[in-house]
């Protein structure tokens, strides 16, 4: 790995920043032009990520597109970025959701310029966290993300936005600053043991730490990521942040930001401290399963659709954690697949909630009913997205959930059985909500004049719906690229249950889907 010049990934990170700088220079009067510029910039970034996808070597589990530039050489801090099968689709998810979120924000009239600048800076922060391979650099991006999100919630959010924004920042920071101490300690230990001062993740992977050290360090990392996921009982910031955030903020928060927590576990907390991760698995799995059931149960009781979707995220992310801590190929592959699926389906749900809110200025389930007759297009798309979220076979949600349950069942059958009830509860709250909102008589006269989705809204939902179906019927191209990286990561664990590759078990899944 010799020194390389600035490459593809750096451009990926730089494009939104350049766009933000460009926006800052444009006059604020013409908001249409500002939106167009932001949309083009995020679109270019998406195309750039497609370029990376096309250059990605599917059979290679190691880091690709590696770049390293010394940053603070005397202290072993470098700018190292790279991408593998684990981060590839998360990066693509981010670059896909960002133009969609900008397109969805067209109704924002207030302080458009700042809004778009923050959106683009947020994109760089998230992408950076996914591709950073130096712990210091990762921490920088991890924290940088907070600031634009803080502004997005705090300035353009709902009535309790200031409270929600502060809670979001304080929760996240409390976790991440302890991780900073752990990062410092880890690098110091490495310098002591190997006589090399470095924050390079790939070099730190191979460290031999005592179990006690691993346990403490794992705790510090895990706390930070558990808050982000959010794992029960660290989830209380999430409903507040979601409900108060503007639509695009919710889409990005649920679609991408939460994935950084689970990604952090998979990339950092688990492989850096494998013994501690294995030892902690029972606790984390227990919390994940509690989160699955609790999130679903609370979602069922919500009268606000947005809150319902927010709590459903707690439940779905519990599945991801369950899959990760199964420590086998299916479980982890399923978890990654579920991250992407959840990003698409929940992103779309928040978009749809935002669209109906823009028309009616309410999100209460009781205010609706019988929408099928007034806005059929909306209802159909909501149906598809909802089925994806429930995990209906043939759509993307099923593949991830099935792989997770398959992987986890062999290792912890009882917990998996308990988690499976979460799938049923998920179907219950979603279908119940759908019935109350879309079916039934049109009893509220205010809903009679609702207009159906316009071209812009259809345009921004279309890619998500297409992907929902595509990932449901043809998961192979995705799993194929995810698998080598997962296998490589799992090699770091002393006892790993390796069964046949996840891609093959999908065939089995297709047969057994009627059994559910």
């Amino acid at each position: 790995m010799s020194a390389l010049a600035i490459g593809n990934l750096s451009f990926l990170l730089a494009i939104p920043v350049i766009g933000a700088a460009l926006l800052a220079l444009l006059p604020r009067r013409n908001s249409q032009a500002l939106f167009t510029v932001a949309l083009i910039v995020s679109g270019i970034d998406f195309l750039w990520s497609i370029k990376i996808l096309s250059g990605f070597d599917a059979g290679n589990g190691a880091m690709q597109f590696l770049e390293r530039i010394p940053w603070m050489p005397a202290f072993g801090i470098e700018y190292i970025v790279g991408i593998d099968g684990i981060s590839l689709f998360l990066v693509l998810l981010t670059t896909l959701l960002m133009p969609i979120a900008i397109l969805a924000s067209w109704s924002v009239q207030d302080r458009v310029k700042e809004y778009l600048v923050f959106m683009l800076l947020l994109e760089t922060g998230m992408l950076g966290a996914f591709v950073a391979l130096d712990l210091f650099l990762f921490y920088v991006f991890w924290e940088v993300m907070l600031v634009p999100m803080y502004f997005l919630i705090g300035v353009w959010g709902g009535t309790r936005r200031i409270y929600a924004a502060l809670k979001f920042v304080i929760y996240t920071m409390a976790g991440s600053l302890l991780m900073l101490v752990a990062i410092i300690y880890l690098a110091a230990r490495h310098a002591e043991l190997e006589q090399v001062l470095t924050f390079d993740l790939l070099k730190l992977y191979g460290m031999s730490l005592s179990f006690d050290q691993q346990a403490w360090l794992f705790c510090a990392f895990a706390l930070s990521f558990a808050i982000k996921v959010p794992l029960f009982p660290f989830h209380t910031w999430l409903p507040d942040a979601h409900v108060e955030a503007p639509t695009a903020g919710s889409v990005i928060l649920a679609g991408v930001l939460l994935k950084l927590g689970t990604y952090g576990f998979l990339r950092f907390a688990m492989p850096l401290f494998p013994d501690a991760a294995l030892a902690a698995a029972p606790i984390i799995v227990a919390l994940a399963v509690i989160g699955i059931i609790y999130g679903a149960a609370v979602a069922m009781m919500q009268s606000d659709i947005k809150k319902l979707v927010a709590y459903s995220s707690v439940s779905h992310l519990g599945f991801v954690m369950l899959g990760l801590f199964a420590f086998n190929t299916q479980g982890v592959q399923g978890a990654i697949y579920q991250m992407i699926s959840h990003g698409l389906s929940t992103g779309a749900l928040f978009l749809l909630v935002g669209m109906i809110y823009e028309r009616r200025h309410t999100r209460m389930i009781d205010d609706f009913g019988g929408l099928w007759k007034v806005i059929p297009l909306f209802s159909v798309i909501l149906l598809v997205v909802m089925f994806s979220s429930i995990g209906l076979p043939g759509l993307n949600g099923f593949v991830g959930e099935f792989l997770i349950l398959l992987g986890a069942f062999g290792v912890m059958p009882l917990w998996t059985a308990a988690a499976a009830t979460g799938v049923i509860l998920g179907a219950v709250y979603m279908l119940w909500m759908y019935r109350r909102v879309v079916f039934g008589p049109l009893k509220n006269p205010a809903n009679e004049k609702l207009t159906d989705l316009n071209t812009r809204e259809l345009l921004l939902l279309a890619p998500i719906v297409i992907l929902i179906v595509l990932m449901g019927v043809y998961p192979r191209p995705f799993l194929q690229r995810i698998e080598p990286a997962v296998a490589l990561t799992l090699k770091k664990f002393p006892v790993v249950v390796t069964t046949q590759a996840g891609a093959d078990s999908i065939a089995g899944a297709e047969h057994s889907k009627h059994g559910r």
Partner: protein, 480 residues
């Protein structure tokens, strides 16, 4: 006695400028504008800074070892000069606004800088004391210069009394150390400590502790912090910025050279009390800052909290703590002074505009001011990629490397606490509706220049810290 003026070159430059400014002031008629005295001062500061840069790397002593020229002294001299320049830039409009007499004002700032430079370069306890008094007396007067304001006079009185009290501690400590070692020269004292480790009289350690208390007073460490909020609150805002950055940096410079470096054999006696002091300072500073309704008072408590962070490398000791201490002082200088510069840009003669309410809506009314203030607040709270974050990172790293894991953890938890009140400023500026008034660039070109310089410094130290880290390291290792 060897007369070698080279080590004092930048200090002499500042002294001459101060004298010129003061004398020139006498020959300007009462009602004529005096604004150009500020530029005269800035030119002098610029020349002194250029000399300091040119001398970088030199290692000399003068006046029988009582003054040294090393990178450590130069590093701090550059910080004092920089902060002095920023103070003058943000004062030009302010002093006219609140009718402070300009001639003495700029001369006093220069005298204070002179005292600080001597403090950082002193290798003899008495010379250090001379520098300290030169600085302190100038700053006492600066604090009370806004004669129309009762708060300013009260602050000056308080500062003077408390400062005199601290001076007493320092002087008594110096006397005890002299009694034990037979010298006030730091080299002789260090030799004594190395040669006769077993025979230290108890009052030598007592002397060390008295010095410690004196320094703790000067940096505003808990429990010697009571004067800080009132004094910082009452002083003219640019002077508050000058005090909370340059005066503090000078005290830390002397602390690092005298106690941490030269008297390091005594370290084991005071490391535990210092540990308590550091934790109490940052925790209390942060807790009390949360409850403030005035941004200026909040910044006063925040500067107490930052004194606590700066005490971490002092506790850690010179092996690991040296470079982080210096780097943190540099980062702290930009972000804290920047915040005070924004504050002084808002002030009006009849209305100080210092409460959170006066910031409501500022972010959209004056985007540049809002952006700059947000950047300073985020940097103070320790968000990357800003100078404050890199500073904190190395401070906490030094604690971890030296085995003070608990100190590092308490430090980061304190950072979380500080987020609450720093973000409140941002909440006010961007998330609350209000009639914030702010002046434009063309109305206040000099304050804006100071703010922009502070923004550049904060970003530079956050994004490209490598060079400054090297300078900090070479500065601390130049101590002999």
């Amino acid at each position: 006695m060897d007369v070698n003026l080279l080590p004092l070159l930048p200090a002499i430059q500042v002294l001459l400028t101060a004298l010129v400014v003061m004398l020139r002031d006498l020959f300007i008629e009462e009602d004529k504008p005096r604004g150009y005295l500020a530029f005269l001062s800035l030119i002098g500061i610029g020349l002194a800074a250029a000399e300091a840069v040119a001398l970088w790397g030199a290692q000399e002593t003068a006046f029988s070892d009582s003054i040294v020229l090393d990178n450590f002294a130069l590093f701090f001299a550059l910080i004092f000069l920089l902060v002095g320049a920023l103070t003058i830039l943000s004062s030009i409009h302010y002093v006219q606004q609140v009718a402070i007499h300009e001639g003495e004002y700029y001369a006093l700032i220069l005298f204070a800088i002179l005292g600080m430079m001597i403090m950082a370069a002193a290798n003899d306890l008495l010379v250090f004391f001379l520098g300290l008094e030169t600085m302190s007396v100038a700053v006492y007067v600066l604090t009370g210069m806004w004669r129309g304001s009762a708060r300013s006079s009260e602050a000056a009185m308080k500062y003077f009394l408390m400062g005199a009290f601290a001076t007493g501690f320092l002087l008594y400590g110096i006397a005890l150390i002299y009694g034990a070692t037979g010298s006030t020269n730091l080299n002789s004292i260090a030799d004594y400590l190395l040669e006769q480790p077993a025979e230290w009289p108890l009052y030598l350690i007592g002397g060390g502790f008295l010095l410690l208390v004196g320094f703790a007073f000067k940096v505003g460490a808990v429990p010697f912090h009571f004067w800080v909020p009132d004094v910082y609150d009452g002083a003219p805002t640019p002077v508050t910025g000058f005090m909370s950055v340059a005066v503090k940096a000078a005290a830390f410079a002397a602390w690092a050279r005298i106690l941490t470096h030269k008297l390091s054999p005594l370290e084991s006696d005071w490391v535990f009390p210092l540990w308590i002091l550091a934790i109490a300072t940052m925790t209390l500073g942060n807790l009390l800052a949360i409850g403030q309704s005035s941004v200026k008072r909040m910044l006063a408590y925040s500067s107490i909290a930052h004194a606590g962070y700066l005490l971490i490398p002092i506790v850690v000791g010179e092996e690991w703590g040296g470079m982080p201490l210096l780097f943190y002082v540099a980062a702290y200088a930009f972000m804290t002074f920047g915040a005070f510069a924004v504050l002084s840009s808002l002030a009006e003669s009849d209305n100080p505009r210092e409460s959170y309410r006066d910031f409501a809506g500022l972010g959209f009314k004056r985007p540049l001011l809002g952006f700059a203030m947000s950047l300073f607040m985020l940097s103070l709270a320790g968000f990357p990629p800003l100078g404050g974050f890199v500073g904190k990172f190395y401070v906490f790293r030094s604690a971890v490397l030296a085995g003070y894991l608990g100190l590092a953890i308490i430090g980061v938890l304190n950072s979380v606490l500080s987020v609450v009140y720093y973000l409140r400023v941002i909440v006010a500026m961007y998330m609350e509706e209000g009639g914030a008034e702010g002046k434009s660039f063309s109305q206040l070109p000099f304050v804006y220049t100071a703010i922009i310089l502070a923004v550049i410094g904060t970003l530079y130290l956050g994004i490209m810290p490598a060079a400054t880290l090297d300078w900090s390291r070479s500065a601390f290792s130049s101590l002999q």
